[in-house]
Amino acid sequence: MTNRYIKEYRDDSLSRKIIDGIKATSKKKIKLMEVCGTHTVSIFRSGIRSVLPENISLLSGPGCPVCVTDQREIDIFIQLSKRDDVIVATFGDLMKVPGTDSSLIKERANGKDIRIVYSAMDAVEIAKKTPDKNVVFFGVGFETTAPTIAASILTAEKEGIKNFYVFSAHKLVPPALNALMNMDGVNIDGFILPGHVSVVIGTNAYRQFFNEFRIPCAIAGFEPADILQGILALIEQIESQKPYLVNTYKRVVSSDGNKKAMQIMLDVFDITDASWRGIGLIPESGLRIKEKFKEYNAEEKFVFSIPASQPIKGCECGKILTGLITPPECPLYKKTCTPEDPVGPCMVSTEGTCAAFYRYSS
């Protein structure tokens, strides 16, 4: 079942044809940014960089949820994990992310109860089974994951579960694109827009951004042929100087997105300003749990004593996830910062640009 729609898009001959098209069309020296971390990984894993002509550079954007999470939020979650009355539940990617003085993986080795889950619903189940503990789920992710976490809060409410909490550090993609275009020094010729996020928010959600900046945009899927198709679409727009907002992932992305998922998300969360690592405060780019659901909000239940975020000395994750520099240009890369012993989040997450560079390029 899962393999349908995979093999076709990993097919050598299909990809070859698109690569030939790219080579025949592309003349200008250009920089394209893939916004989504899953794209970054797929680009590296399939060796796309090695088959593109030299005049095309791919930059990785702020699309790895772990990487853009503010240091203060990481510190809060690590502080929560130290409490004896709390079980923290998290996606596995966060385990190794270094806080100012610890990480979840170190706290687990210290005997703290930290569970890796694959869905927020699993955290609800843990809460059900351990009524004497407070179960806190760390809600990290974009529009793709936020509706599922909203659904977990609705489930907890429906089932009368009183010991389940969410710490919401969710972020929204379109406001980040705006902020990125307004940053000094950012120089991007086109965007490969995320596939999964677009399934939820739909093509139209980028319309305002596109109308303001008139920059080539292509929504793309995640298989090698999908990404190559997105790149070809951008190159055609750049070479003809006719920018469009194009959806090359039509088999799952619609104009309006998944209305039901969006509704659940907006039923539970209010849109709020959010702090992004490397970018700073972006207006209306985060999600806060609505007043109506405040009994599930970890920020209401617990008191945190975390000062303002402490930037990690020498770490250039911020510049890397805005495409200002590439990982090898960071002074810590491969020296003191490695996947086994990461300094910054871009080296931790499987979707992080530094981790992908480290793993897949020589």
Binding site: N3, R10, D12, S50, V51, E340
Partner: protein, 336 residues
Amino acid sequence: MKADKILLDHGSGGKASERLVRELMLPAFSNPILEKLDDGASLDINGTRLAFSTDSYVVDPIFFPGGNIGDLAVNGTINDIAMCGAVPLYLSAGLIIEEGFPVAELEIILNTMSEAAKKAGVKIVTGDTKVVPKGAVDKIFINTSGIGVISQDICVSGSNARPGDQIILSGTIADHGITIMTQREEFSFDAPVSSDTASLNHMVKNMFSASKDIHVLRDPTRGGIGTSLNEIAVQSKIGIKIYEKSIPVKKEVAGMCEILGFDPVYIANEGKLLVFVSKEHANKVLDVIKQDKAGKDACIIGEVISDNPGKVILKTLIGGERILDMLTGEQLPRIC
């Protein structure tokens, strides 16, 4: 070592495990036999060449589709000895059992161990049992050690790979690791997959009957073929080129990997081997492997190159190239 505490990562079979061995174990026990870092030790005692190996099994759950902790423990050590190019002969078994463990389950495990040993033609000749208070171990842990004899004309080691060698993989990858994952509470998937646990000593014996030009043997257990290939590239100071489209993965296993975001090249196998053999003898050895039930899907997946020493290069499905690095980070603890 930078870490001040042992993390699960240190037992993952990947980079952190390698650092633990290199930075703490090797300095503590330093000797030329250990320093080879092969699956087992190759010893010369008065002209008789012996292979000696040990492994501990802590798999969770202890019963899983395709086997249980018992046959896993027997097959695993037999394979480690076979990977030294030896004919395995005798095993020891050490059991650490949690207080309250059901005797009926112990009987099943012991019977499975007995059957696995018989199938492989080895004898379990010594053992030890410890029972510890509830909670001091989880149900049952098993250690097995074994010895075997290496014929005088066989010379295999992770450091023997040579440019031009063809790399044969004996079958589909990731079956064991994915099966264990589907059995875990946190996943609770109902997928038609089963562990590939099997002893490979008969297959290895037949391979050596066909050719003595076999340079490296390795069973890619924890850390998967990705980690094993990297270890060999470093040990032999050669480059390795692998063709992604040649690597066999069962449909169900590939699907599970997609859902869970795992790369099958890093997932554990318990009944597969990698063989590095001269180009001239590659097809002959491949034919022999294919005749074995556990090797019917065997194929050549790549070759040894003189460029990029210490590195594994993957030729991707779309014709691109990338580095295939060692596993970093815990993929899943207690897989074997």
